[in-house]
Symmetry: C2
Subunit: 226 residues, 2 copies
């Protein structure tokens, strides 16, 4: 479903560029569920942002379902992304002035889903992550792990074809984290392609393939196909 070829990404800094990705190439197949692991600072979020069309490669090519998306404009990328991608951000990025329910409704609103259906779909996602009793709360009235779960619910709102989750269980106890993984597996069984950044073996052991990054390049001999 997606192919990266020699993807590089640099960030401009005051005196020099910092190369966060230095030539990453791999394929992801439709319906796969993979983990992305690697040390802090190795480039995982940077790579996920490119795959999720939140950012563009500095060099190299990215094809999504056969379409070269490497050099699309911001609005063109947004159109593809809103249709196809659900993203659970490492920093959640919830809107503080909206309720939990309204936060999950946002992607549905953009997609033109009518009010009543939007509310019921959002409420159903939130129940799936165990937050059915917090619908009216503001994000600041929730625990860290509850905010993380709202971010998961929002990523699932539009039934994405590609689910990208950046450390989705980092703030969750083992059991709640396992419930989120159950949910991801359920979606994967329905055909959703899933990529999870994680540092927890409890998560990576539940995926079929582990892609490892180190200092902006793939650690290819560490790649395991379970």
């Amino acid at each position: 479903v997606l192919r990266l070829e020699e993807v590089h990404k640099s960030y401009p800094l005051e005196q020099e560029e910092f190369w966060a990705l230095k030539g990453v190439s791999f394929d992801l197949h439709e319906g796969e569920m993979v983990s992305l692991m690697g040390p802090s600072g190795s480039g995982k979020t940077t790579l996920m942002n490119i795959i999720g069309l939140l950012d563009r490669p500095t060099e190299g090519r990215y094809q999504l379902r056969g379409q070269d998306v490497s050099r699309l404009s911001e609005s063109a990328r947004a159109a593809v992304r809103n249709r196809m991608v659900g993203f659970v951000f490492q920093a959640f990025h919830l809107l503080p002035r909206l309720s939990v329910l309204e936060n999950v409704e946002v992607p549905l609103t953009y997609a033109g889903v009518p009010g009543r259906e939007r509310r019921s779909r959002a409420a159903e996602r939130l129940e799936k992550v165990g937050l059915g009793d917090k619908l009216g709360h503001r994000p600041t009235q929730l625990s860290g792990g509850q905010q993380q779960r709202v971010a998961v619910a929002r990523a699932l709102a539009l039934n994405p074809a590609l689910l990208l989750a950046d450390e989705p269980t980092g703030n969750l106890d083992t059991r709640t984290g396992a419930e989120i993984l159950d949910l991801f597996e359920e979606l994967n069984n329905e055909g959703v392609t899933v990529m999870i950044v994680t540092h927890e073996s409890a998560v990576s052991e539940r995926t079929r393939r582990i892609i490892r990054l180190r200092d902006g390049v793939l650690d290819s001999h560490a790649r395991e196909v379970a």
Copy 2:
């Protein structure tokens, strides 16, 4: 070093109060290193905020080194806290417009430490968490785990007597997380009292005692003294 007696905490909600803590009592001894575990939403951050004098109990008593601090004013609490407590927040709370180095300097500035010493102490803390090469960066130019480590460095800036860390390794790969734990152990060996909220056994296995919370009360039969 600290004693909680029947501590309760409620948050006001639109129609009713929500009791996040419903009668928590325990002692922490000078120089102990303990884990605080429990399901997402069970009240761990709420409890840590009270212990760290960022918040007050709604009912019950909290004594810190023999002094009843349960009903102190905000400024009195701040005075004790700035002197004694280092806090690693679950959401980091870094100041986005200051550099990494300046962020770690903040507590030193409040304590009146002169400029040159402040900078060198802050730089030394950042080197200890592996970020010596990122001193001039803004927090938004760092990875999630790097931001987490800046929060750790800042908590250590003033050589606190009590170190409270809320999920300090949630965004760190196993090895970097272990390095942060080494640092905490080193401080504990020097006499610092340490309390760590965690959901990872790799962390809790390195502490001598695990305090478990469930729905705002202690799960006392689950208390292990290793």
